[in-house]
């Protein structure tokens, strides 16, 4: 019975993933090897040219997406880790309240959030207009329609997905262990580096996985916040699929993206290199 436990635990999840993910993805994989067009139909030709063509045409957007996704992930880590740390160790009885407050804005439609950001960040709006009025910013300063806005938008939208898993990992660390470490090592920084950080790594790994991957594939932020040279791969996939009805190219691009992300995550797990993380995720 004990030996069966993991299989029984995993069974419902497996079934869900097998029926609703593996089967359709296998179909998509087959579409990515077909040629034709929407009107005359697509036929299986086992052609890998969809992949090479798509990569040739859209490598700029793919590289850019990885770059933006990476930048946003670093920003989320820098912003989110201290928050997770403070809530886990100092949040006291109100831990769950803080977490809830962090997530609450995301219970409201993204369309409303977007409209609000456009209002807040308008060139001459409530924020920048005021600063410009005081002469603190040059008159043509703007944030909307820039790379900064896209990366900022990605950071904003996925930040709770970084904070929560780090918190979850940190919270199980006994505060007394941290205090003991602080007594043991000369500085607080050393105590943090030697004790707290290693213990939080599974959370960091989970957080990065849950933010870097969706942020890189995101089609929304570039479309709403970007300028004329911020198109990401997610936007291209949408256009190829919904406007051009080029299902093979869209599928090929998606699989390429997924493969690149998989390699990236694997390498990252290796670099991070804790026994825990490797055991848990990179096998």
């Amino acid at each position: 019975m004990r030996r069966l436990t993991p299989y029984l635990l995993a069974l419902p999840g497996w079934m869900w993933l097998a029926i609703f993910l593996v089967v359709p993805m296998a179909a998509m994989a087959s579409v990515s090897l077909q040629t034709g067009n929407a009107i005359d139909g697509y036929a299986m030709t086992f052609s890998v040219s969809n992949y090479t063509d798509a990569l040739g045409r859209y490598s700029t957007q793919l590289v850019r997406s990885l770059l933006y996704g990476g930048m946003a992930t670093v920003a989320m880590l820098a912003i989110g880790y201290p928050v997770a740390y403070w809530i886990a160790f100092k949040g006291g009885r109100r831990k769950s309240v803080y977490l809830f407050l962090l997530l609450l804005p995301f219970f409201v439609s993204f369309v409303l959030r977007t409209i609000s950001w456009n209002f807040l960040l308008a060139d001459n709006g409530i924020l920048f207009g005021t600063l410009k009025g005081w002469g603190l910013l040059p008159a043509d300063f703007h944030v909307l329609a820039t790379t900064f806005a896209v990366v900022g938008g990605l950071t904003y939208n996925w930040l709770p997905f970084m904070i929560l898993p780090i918190y979850v990992a940190l919270e199980r660390v006994d505060p007394r262990v941290v205090e003991a470490a602080q007594d043991l090592y000369a500085t607080r920084a050393a105590a943090f580096r030697r004790v707290v950080l290693p213990l939080s790594l599974p959370g960091v790994f989970a957080g990065v996985l849950m933010t870097f991957v969706p942020a890189t594939a995101d089609p929304v932020n570039a479309a709403i916040l970007g300028g004329t040279a911020n198109t990401m791969i997610g936007n291209i996939i949408q256009t190829e699929y919904l406007t051009n009805l080029d299902y093979p190219t869209a599928s090929a691009l998606s699989f390429t993206l997924m493969a690149v992300l998989l390699v990236g995550i694997f390498v990252y797990a290796r670099v991070l290199g804790t026994e825990n993380v490797l055991e848990a995720a990179a096998r």
């Binding site: 077909q34 036929a43 700029t60 456009n118 001459n124 300028g227 004329t228 699929y241």
Partner: protein, 404 residues
């Protein structure tokens, strides 16, 4: 990429076997043998007649439309139900043409019904796909007397659906230039203003390939309805130059209107309906149909293949062309109506109305944004009509401008 002929369909027994093997295997099998081609030969006239002669009134109709595209009390539909005895189901299920088509395509391709009798779609790429793939039921114009009598001439001559074979307009709008009068002191009349270096970084263009393509062509004096591949390339170059010179801030979806009203951009390609709303709200935006030309787009009603109640659908489509009904609809939607008689009806109504209502009705009836002038109409063109092959050339030209 040479289009290859579709593979022959599997024999029935084998397909049945897959079905028995379960839902997931069937899905896999379907995709693995390629997506079936659907190119439909245009239906013959007698077939159409034959189809319609067999239809009877079922007493119900399912109408799929965009949110906020029908008065909240559903007045026009209530009247329709009362006058004809046909009960209606009204569903606000359409958010975007592309998303709707993406969802409808696999269903219709599989020969399954969408569950709607009337669907509203814009005359863009997706509607052309619907027509080309044979997803629309050809209309019987002998049953559309109100349309014949009341639709404006411009709405009967449309390059994307000649002779209104498959569609009739629901509501319409104009793509022109909007500018913020706080920042732009000149009178904008020409499309060249969008290419004027003095507005560097303050110009908004649309991301949609057909919208921006039209404006690239207008700027070069080309009529998009009659344009060729060489014209598209020239327009693409012109637009690329505009982008590379730093004139364009962003390729917008509908959010351009916020940007222009707040002064993030000073002038932009714009849809008349959006600008009208901002003017009502007292924001400093003006609208002009450029002298070189502007675009007229139309949201159309159509009957999707496999609809359960085609005759009831046709009756509803025709009913909405009664001027009084069209007026009620347009008073709420505040776009351009395909029924010109609505303008006088709104003026009539304004005479007896009071206070705020009176003011609003007068503003509507007098606005060239809801009722374009004859001079405006003369300058308006539709999108470039494109079959699938042409789209494969046209789209990349303009997407390489907007999706760099």
């Amino acid at each position: 990429m040479n289009p290859r002929p579709p593979l022959p369909r599997h024999g029935l027994p084998r397909r049945e076997a897959f079905r028995l093997a379960g839902l997931s295997a069937a899905g896999l099998a379907l995709a693995a043998c390629g997506v079936q081609g659907q190119k439909a030969a245009p239906p013959k006239a007698d077939e159409v007649q034959d189809f319609w002669s067999k239809q009877t009134k079922h007493g119900k109709v399912v109408f799929a439309n965009w949110p906020e595209y029908m008065p909240e009390d559903k007045g026009p539909l209530e009247k329709f139900a009362k006058d004809t005895g046909i009960s209606y189901e009204y569903k606000e299920v359409i958010q975007e043409n592309a998303d709707f088509f993406g969802k409808a395509d696999p269903v219709l391709r599989a020969g399954q019904p969408l569950g709607y009798d009337v669907v509203v779609m814009t005359n863009g790429i997706q509607l052309q796909h619907m027509i080309e793939l044979g997803y629309c039921v050809p209309l019987d114009h002998s049953k559309l007397p109100n349309f014949a009598a009341n639709a404006g001439q411009k709405y009967k001559e449309r390059a994307y659906d000649p002779g209104n074979k498959y569609t009739v307009p629901y509501s319409s709008g104009v793509t022109g230039i909007a500018y913020n009068t706080k920042y732009v002191k000149d009178d904008i009349t020409s499309i060249q203003s969008l290419f004027d270096p003095k507005y560097k970084g303050r110009v908004g263009m649309m991301a949609d390939a057909q919208e921006i393509g039209n404006f690239g062509m207008f700027a070069l004096g080309i009529d998009p309805e009659k344009s060729t591949e060489a014209d598209w390339k020239k327009a693409g170059e012109k637009l690329k130059e505009q982008r590379d010179n730093g004139l364009v801030r962003k390729y917008y979806d509908q959010s351009y209107i916020d940007a222009v009203a707040k002064g993030d951009i000073w002038l932009s390609m714009a849809w008349s309906g959006d600008v009208f709303q901002r003017q009502l709200a007292g924001e400093p935006v003006a609208f002009v149909v450029p002298e070189e030309g502007g675009t007229i787009w139309t949201d159309n009603m159509l009957i999707p293949k496999g609809a359960a109640n085609p005759l009831d659908a046709l009756m509803l489509m025709d009913y909405l062309y009664q001027p009084a009904v069209a007026a009620e609809l347009d008073e709420f939607i505040q776009f351009v109506t395909p029924v010109p008689a609505v303008q006088d009806l709104l003026r009539e109504k304004a005479k007896t109305a009071k206070g705020e209502d009176k003011k609003a009705l007068e503003q509507m009836a007098d606005s060239p944004l809801m009722f374009p002038t004859e001079a405006d109409y003369a300058r308006l063109r539709g999108y470039t009509p494109l079959d699938n092959k042409q789209q494969q050339v046209f789209n990349p030209i303009f997407q390489s401008v907007t999706q760099a």
